[in-house]
Symmetry: C2
């Protein structure tokens, strides 16, 4: 069976040494209730829960075929119900939620680390509370006080759960095309009718009520994305006293059969005049969605880290145990029939790639989490403005770059196992199948890249990235000379040049940026990760223990062996869009 | 349901225009029975069989869970038996086998194209005849005339089938560690005892007998890989008259539960004093394996092409049909609610990546097939020497580079579908799961890279690659000026420089080459593909029809957008091995 041990030491290092979390928390009155002792206690508890409760359920749920659908009802895999009860009773659903409504008020820079452990050990399980947390965030931000009081406390006890109902069969990325209708009733409620697909946790048996947040169009709403409103549609209507009433006219029509995350029920939801209540103002539904979008997209990046960490641990253990061949420099283990495959440079290359990306990814998630905490908790307007811009810029990196690197990592980890990696019992192939969705949902990684290069870059003429680069340069200037420092400065220059080129080209070629978007996303991802290694290096440099000194080696490895990808990305961006756009549409499907 | 239409026009173009197959065949008396008319007739028949008979069985076999194991017997998925009967009756098993034993004697440069279609439509099905073909090749090369007459004709009618039994639980890449024993009997036969794992088609219900080719060690054999012999071990003993006798002491103990190719039975085979017959000389078993290794490894590359072609066709169709968003240059389809996603550069980028790699891969497979045909059919000793060296050099590229690119392609194709790509019914996720094994089996792609950089490059001080580059330069010199010509010459220089660097470094650092092997493999892969585009361009340049002119655009696309990967590979190679080898083994599993 697969192994997992939470990387608590690295988590502590990142919070405490790299981001000096205690200072940051103590300096902010809204976060002064948190300190490293609390943080480590929380992480240690989650380390136990993830390893002891949900890890084994991950394989068993997949082997059993995942969630089951029968006559409108969904049965979650064996053990999920008990595990969720324990999870909810531990207060984990509301870990990052407002204390006013029963949450624990923990900062995002801490919760990203707790979340990582759940993503490592059972991604299907994680999706049940995740959507509740997202729905809670939208309600907390946009709903009325009465709505908040009705729904949020129930969310954070785990009694009720939430969903986000956006996608329709013909309308995914382009939400302007949705057809779900909201007809107003005399009492201020609406009747919601339409079909939503790909609804995570749309139906299940973990909670006694499910609160759907549904995008729909009111009569005479403007066409496209400006005419979308957001509604609360409970599975069971809620009585005035907060108790559960009659079943609303909403039901799951089926669940999807998927590549992975089989334990998570992905539902087709049919709304047939279901009673709904508007959240916030009419036609401002998309804006309400965007409130939680940055958090949700960061979560997908954490899914990536979780999977890649799990993959790494298992591959490193397998490589240590597996004896094949001898070292090219001479026999290392004469007492054994062969050396461990760790003597082979190619196996080490794969493991170091994974580890370097994981450690940078984890630091980056904490960094973005900290920026989100500034937007939420800081009272300094300029700091909030800057953090908002930073989050806007980096959310596509957190979502897409982290998951792209995570899939590369999981594939390399599987490869370390040779043929055994292809066999289900080792858990590597499930890890890949479960992880793959992270690149697709919450906006495909291509869509993330287009968001980065368009709304976040060309639209502001590169202002967000310029401010980011300025901060990185300032940090690099504070460092003692090293390869990582030199590389960081060089990459700042390179990405600055690429950004200027893109902003310039986009002025005359409207389809330029879309065609080079993914390459640009990866360029900014590389910049971000070398920046993380700069921060890691500075935090580790003065400490003599191998744990710290090895981080300097890993940083050098990153610069020497991973960062060269930037050269390829830059060449592709410079090659422009003409060759991509030139062939006629019929070329693509013409018989060859 | 997924679609598939064999790319017959491109296949004809590659054979006829790029490689001038008719001239080549007619110039060789051993191949003069083949011409383009025959070739196209064969390919058209296979196009029908693959589309009409086995395509639908691919999804149904996977959905049903694949091959089933019960009390030592394997039931292949519904429909496989009838399809295999039709396949065998069509003479497809022996398409490339010697006519002396009932084969059709077709050249490899043709059979690679027929094989591609089966890999596109049903990779699990393909694995049943594939192992028979491989076993037949080893028998044809090394066995006695009597053994050939006993087994080969039965293989090519499909009555009997074959396997290759190499791997053991503790012995995969390092075959020197095998423990299976062969005790000699007085009658010249041997008793074979041991356990083999990962035996493709080790047990099944498609043929009336299964002939296992088994690697085992005789008593007092030298240690390691020099003490391995090859044995024929029939499932049912064969009587003197060729009829089937008693069950031999060999049986499947179980089948593996895998990520993909579920329709293919991957067996644990237990040999319990089974009667076996030596093939060729004692202790020359590994050499006998290597006879067929180049063919088998090319087959894995073709598995890659097949999967990537299938993935491309489905993704291109989906992208044409799916309407989301509007073109950045203005509405393209005002009569529709949105434009097709083909207006977005990022979707085109993915499709063009796939198509460019597919067309180069297909040409490359034919090129390597032609080299194999020269080794087998030519009477010109120098031509045979040169082709043998070329095949030795390029087999790791054919196996590993083609499958690496194919997985990238299948992943990009899945991404074109957005969320729908993650849903089983579309067939994209199965394509990825089935394809993934091609990078792992027949020697992992890392092992291929080590073979390329070691035995095929540093061992001969770069002689093989030097001769290859000389040929490519000569070809480029014959071209009219173009971007592809310039790029081809540049890449020759780059790879020549990298090779010299590696040969030099390896002299003093024995673990250098292993650590940079995969990057070097990709560098040589890029060289090979730009060479293929040079040949494609020259064949297409003078023809005005869009089919040909679009190939020039695709070649330019390749140079501008795919080839930049070389810059990254070169930087990584130059960064060397020190950072990879420096950390102690315990670093990799130490708690972080």
């Amino acid at each position: 069976m697969p192994i997992y041990n939470a990387p608590l030491k690295d988590m502590d290092f990142i919070l405490n040494d790299v981001f000096k979390a205690d200072e940051f928390w103590q300096a902010n009155e809204n976060l002064a209730h948190v300190d490293m002792a609390t943080a480590n206690a929380i992480l240690e508890e989650m380390a136990k829960f993830s390893k002891n409760v949900i890890l084994d359920l991950n394989r068993s749920a997949d082997e059993a075929g995942g969630a089951e659908f029968h006559q409108g009802e969904v049965k979650t895999p064996a053990g999920f119900k008990e595990a969720f009860k324990q999870f909810a009773e531990g207060g984990w659903v509301g870990l990052g939620a407002s204390e006013e409504f029963g949450g624990q008020g923990m900062p995002k820079m801490l919760t990203v680390l707790a979340d990582e452990m759940i993503w490592s050990t059972n991604p299907s399980f994680m999706l049940y509370p995740l959507l509740t947390v997202g729905a809670g965030m939208a309600i907390n931000d946009r709903a009325s006080q009465e709505q908040k009081e009705t729904y949020l406390p129930k969310f954070y006890t785990g009694e009720w759960s939430g969903t986000m109902c956006l996608t329709e069969p013909h309308s995914g990325t382009d939400l302007g095309l949705i057809k779900t209708k909201a007809e107003p009733n005399a009492d201020g409620s609406f009747n919601i009718s339409g079909t939503k697909i790909f609804i995570t946790s749309g139906e299940h048996d973990l909670s006694e009520n499910i609160i759907h947040l549904v995008l729909a169009k009111t009569p005479n709403a403007p066409a496209g994305s400006r005419g979308i409103s957001l509604f609360i549609v409970p599975k069971f209507n809620v009585n005035a006293d907060g108790s559960i009433g009659e079943h609303n006219a909403v039901a799951a029509g089926s669940i999807e059969h998927k590549m992975g995350i089989k334990g998570s029920a992905t539902c087709v939801m049919n709304f047939d005049g279901a009673k709904g209540f508007i959240v916030g103002k009419e036609n401002e539904g998309l804006a309400a969605m965007f409130v939680m979008m940055n958090y949700e997209r960061l979560s997908m990046g954490i899914q990536g880290i979780g999977a890649a960490e799990f993959a790494y641990q298992n591959a490193a253990q397998y490589a240590t145990d597996r004896l094949q061949g001898r070292s090219a420099t001479g026999v290392q283990s004469p007492e054994k029939p062969a050396d461990s495959i760790l003597v082979h440079g190619d196996v080490r290359r794969m493991l170091l790639n994974i580890r370097a990306n994981n450690e940078a990814s984890r630091a980056f998630a904490v960094y973005v989490g900290q920026q989100l905490d500034i937007t939420k908790f800081s009272t300094d307007e300029e700091a909030v403005r800057k953090a908002n811009d930073r989050v806007a810029l980096l959310t596509p990196i957190a979502k897409a770059y982290l998951t792209d690197k995570a899939l590369d990592s999981a594939l390399e980890a599987q490869m370390c196992f040779g043929g055994h990696g292809y066999i289900r019992e080792w858990g590597m192939e499930q890890c890949i199948r479960d992880l793959r969705i992270s690149q697709i949902y919450e906006g495909t990684n291509g869509v993330q890249a287009i968001d980065l290069i368009g709304r976040k870059t060309t639209k502001c003429s590169g202002a967000f990235i310029a401010e980011y680069i300025a901060d990185i340069r300032e940090f690099a200037a504070s460092m003692a000379d090293s390869k990582v420092k030199a590389a960081t400065i060089q990459v700042c220059n390179d990405v600055e040049g690429l950004t200027q080129f893109i902003v310039e080209q986009s002025k005359t070629a409207p389809d330029f940026s879309n065609a080079v978007a993914v390459d640009y996303l990866h360029a900014v991802g590389l910049l971000s990760f070398v920046y993380m290694f700069a921060r890691i290096s500075q935090a580790a440099a003065s400490k003599p223990e191998p744990f710290y000194q090895n981080k300097l080696v890993l940083a050098d490895y990153y610069v020497a062996k991973v960062l060269p990808d930037l050269a390829a990305r830059a060449q592709r961006i410079k090659a422009g869009s003409a060759l991509i756009m030139q062939l006629p549409e019929e070329y693509f499907t013409a018989q060859s």
